[in-house]
């Protein structure tokens, strides 16, 4: 008999874990609440630092899940803990007896309109990082009309206690630098400004990206958080910040302002977490059993976590986390269901 593993959330973490667990000889059931697999990756155009296509990346992830049973437009309705496993009823009426559950519920993008002073949804030429990716994908957005002066605001809904989100979203700095260069490619004679508090370009090749943005694209980095945005009579934007390096207030007129909306804990993921009585930390993300040595284990036996469900992560972080979770789940099931071992070995020989 095969062990069932239920994976909640069909984003990159869910996809990667599905393919790994399937290869390890488990019967994987993947559910996704939206109509398509892929999560935020499905909405992105190119990925930092190298600019590879998000479409291609998603395609290769999808390429490894043949045989995985997945249901889209499907949510968890109820979960009951049995002696060794979980009895899960799905919104599509199907009941799953899961020997292990993996939460890959990901993140929500911060609702930029909550930073009222930036005027997203009020001033016509204020957009978000997600809007810009959509523009790169389908090439049109009425708000982007050959802009000559473009601004990027880092830390929108990150490192902001007023907005109720203290944590850093980890990916916005690199995304801003990437998108700034892409806009420069699209509009070569535009002036591009990035307003940052700290540039957190920690990953491999990220610093090169920053250097290139300065040296090759002439992008101007200004250390100061944008304090206020307003609309001029001609429809352009007036942006206020302090240039903290010069210790002086600064203003600029811009044709387009891009808000780097940060990561927030997934609301629907939290709903499933509540069904499982999964503890969350102050930042709203799920707690793990031990942060360092087993960051994929939840405090409950048989419940595992991967990806942004346990805090902001880059895509490579997320995929690595998913693989680690697969191994953790394999160890767990091997201990709890030793009788299934023989079958698993057969499957593994097939691969």
């Amino acid at each position: 008999m095969k062990n069932n593993v239920l994976i909640v959330g069909g984003g990159p973490a869910g996809l990667e874990a599905s393919s790994q667990l399937q290869r390890l000889g488990y019967n994987v059931i993947l559910i996704e609440r939206s109509t398509a697999l892929g999560g935020h990756l499905a909405k992105w155009d190119r990925l930092f630092p190298s600019g590879v296509s998000a479409r291609e990346t998603l395609k290769s992830l999808m390429g490894h899940i043949e045989g995985v049973k997945y249901f889209t437009d499907t949510e968890v309705q109820s979960i009951n803990r049995l002696e060794k496993s979980y009895n899960v009823i799905l919104s599509n009426g199907i009941t799953v007896l899961a020997d292990a559950v993996l939460m890959t519920t990901g993140f929500d993008l911060f609702k930029a309109s909550r930073k009222e002073e930036y005027g997203y949804g009020i001033y016509n030429r204020v957009i978000t990082n997600a809007d810009l990716e959509a523009y790169f994908r389908n090439g049109s957005d009425p708000r982007i009309d050959n802009p000559k002066r473009i601004g990027f605001v880092h830390c929108v809904g990150s490192r902001d206690e007023k907005a109720g989100c203290r944590s850093c979203s980890k990916v916005c700095c690199a995304t801003a630098v990437k998108q700034a260069m892409e806009m420069k490619q699209a509009f070569p004679d535009a002036d591009v400004f990035c307003f940052y508090m700290d540039l957190r370009l920690f990953g491999r090749h990220y610093e090169d990206m920053y250097l290139s943005a300065q040296r090759d694209y002439g992008i101007r980095f200004i250390r100061g958080r944008v304090a206020e945005v307003a609309e001029n009579a001609d429809g352009s934007l007036q942006v206020k910040a302090e240039d903290t390096v010069a210790s002086k207030p600064l203003k600029a007129s811009l044709d387009l302002l891009v808000l780097m909306a940060g990561m927030r804990p997934s609301v629907s993921g939290r709903r499933v977490g509540d069904l499982l009585e999964m503890p969350v930390e102050e930042d709203g993300y799920f707690s793990v059993k031990e942060g360092i040595v087993s960051g994929q284990k939840s405090p409950h036996p048989g419940i595992f976590l991967a990806g942004a469900a346990t805090g902001p992560k880059t895509l490579p972080d997320t995929l690595a986390d998913a693989r680690a979770a697969a191994v953790m789940i394999d160890q767990y099931l091997s201990d709890v269901f030793p009788e299934a071992k023989h079958y698993k070995n057969l499957v593994r020989e097939l691969w």
């Binding site: 009222e116 949804g121 001033y123 009579a233």
Partner: protein
């Protein structure tokens, strides 16, 4: 500008404003420079709308201006405030409405500080009894007088004699709003519409037929700055901040400015005069300034009060072009007359500002 976006935010900041029975507290600056505005507020609410707005001669300044000029300790201003609250309770009221924005902000801050530091509240309670033999009390509802006119805006519209519409073109008048800094910048939830897009004045203008124009420096302070005005050597600060606002609003050609803070209309009116007389620059049509009105004055005009009963003659920027646009009849001869037509002369004309 996407109007629906603002509506979403306004929906998030709806504060509860009781319909009736208020203890009314005046503003030092409004009384000194716009006494008719407070008289109009009381006449509209009491006589036109039949509300119970109680005033006692025993209330005083809240001490806010002295406090924000750093001349009296926090404990002093808090005890004066406690005294005002106690008078409210003593007279059987629990709804407190104040005419001053500095007071309003200070009341909010004081109550918040008391909530956070109960030992301080206890100390103030003790001070109050020691000094005034009054029992400590807190208002159930604390609102600014502009909140109340906002609340009644549609009742006022029903009695409207004039609309905020240019009778010659049929177009709504373009209005710029200026919210006093201490209204909601410290406590966004205490203001109608919040801190970034306050609705308290916008709501009035919309209800009375005008059109609000947003401009980049809308949120910027008028520049009063307390000590920055009282000391002559500092007035450049005050002047320059108003100048910054007018330079920013100029391209939008507003017909007038509506304010809810006692100081702002004085400064935005008088600094236009100073800019005109010292640099020759004016911001209204052909040499005129842009009239800066209190919300009581605007409500009064809409309800058909005589402009000179509203005290519009005490503005340095002439309001006649606005009255003409609104089709309001007025007698230029009566503008500067005292009670019963008494001749008390008239101001000297300005060299530059019309």
């Amino acid at each position: 500008m996407i109007y629906e976006g603002k509506q979403k935010i306004w929906a998030d900041y709806q504060k509860e404003i009781p319909d009736d029975h208020y203890f009314y507290v005046r503003s030092c600056i409004r009384q000194s420079f716009f006494p008719a505005s407070e008289a109009t507020f009381l006449d509209i609410t009491r006589n036109r709308l039949g509300k119970d707005i109680f005033e006692t001669e025993h209330h005083t300044t809240c001490g806010g201006i002295a406090y924000h000029s750093d001349t009296i300790p926090q404990e002093t201003v808090m005890t004066i405030i406690a005294r005002q609250f106690a008078l409210m309770a003593k007279n059987g009221y629990e709804n407190y409405v104040c005419s001053c924005i500095t007071s309003f902000g200070l009341y909010c801050e004081t109550m918040e500080t008391w909530r956070e530091f109960p030992e301080l509240e206890a100390k103030i309670r003790e001070n109050l009894w020691k000094t005034c033999k009054l029992d400590f009390a807190k208002p159930k509802y604390l609102i600014h007088a502009s909140d109340l006119i906002y609340k009644y805006r549609n009742l006022i519209a029903k009695q409207a004699v004039h609309k905020l519409v240019n009778v010659h073109t049929g177009q709504p008048l373009k209005v710029v709003e200026h919210i006093g800094c201490h209204y909601s910048k410290m406590f966004p939830s205490k203001g109608v519409g919040g801190a970034e897009y306050p609705y308290v004045l916008v709501g009035m203008i919309e209800a009375w037929g005008g059109e609000i124009v947003d401009y980049p420096e809308r949120r910027h302070c008028c520049g009063f700055g307390f000590r920055q005005y009282f000391i002559k050597g500092n007035r450049g600060y005050s002047l320059s901040n108003t100048h910054k606002k007018f330079e920013s609003m100029e391209p939008f050609h507003p017909d007038f400015i509506i304010t809810n803070c006692p100081g702002c209309p004085y400064f935005m009116d008088r600094w236009q005069y100073v800019i005109a007389e010292s640099t020759g620059k004016t911001y209204g049509q052909d040499g005129h300034g842009i009239p800066v009105l209190t919300y009581e004055e605007v409500a009064g005009l809409v309800m058909g009060y005589d402009p000179w009963d509203l005290g519009l003659q005490t503005h340095q920027v002439g309001v006649e072009p606005l009255l003409d646009k609104m089709g309001i009849e007025y007698d230029p001869e009566k503008k500067y007359q005292g009670k019963g037509g008494k001749d008390i002369g008239r101001p000297e004309p300005c060299a530059c500002l019309k």
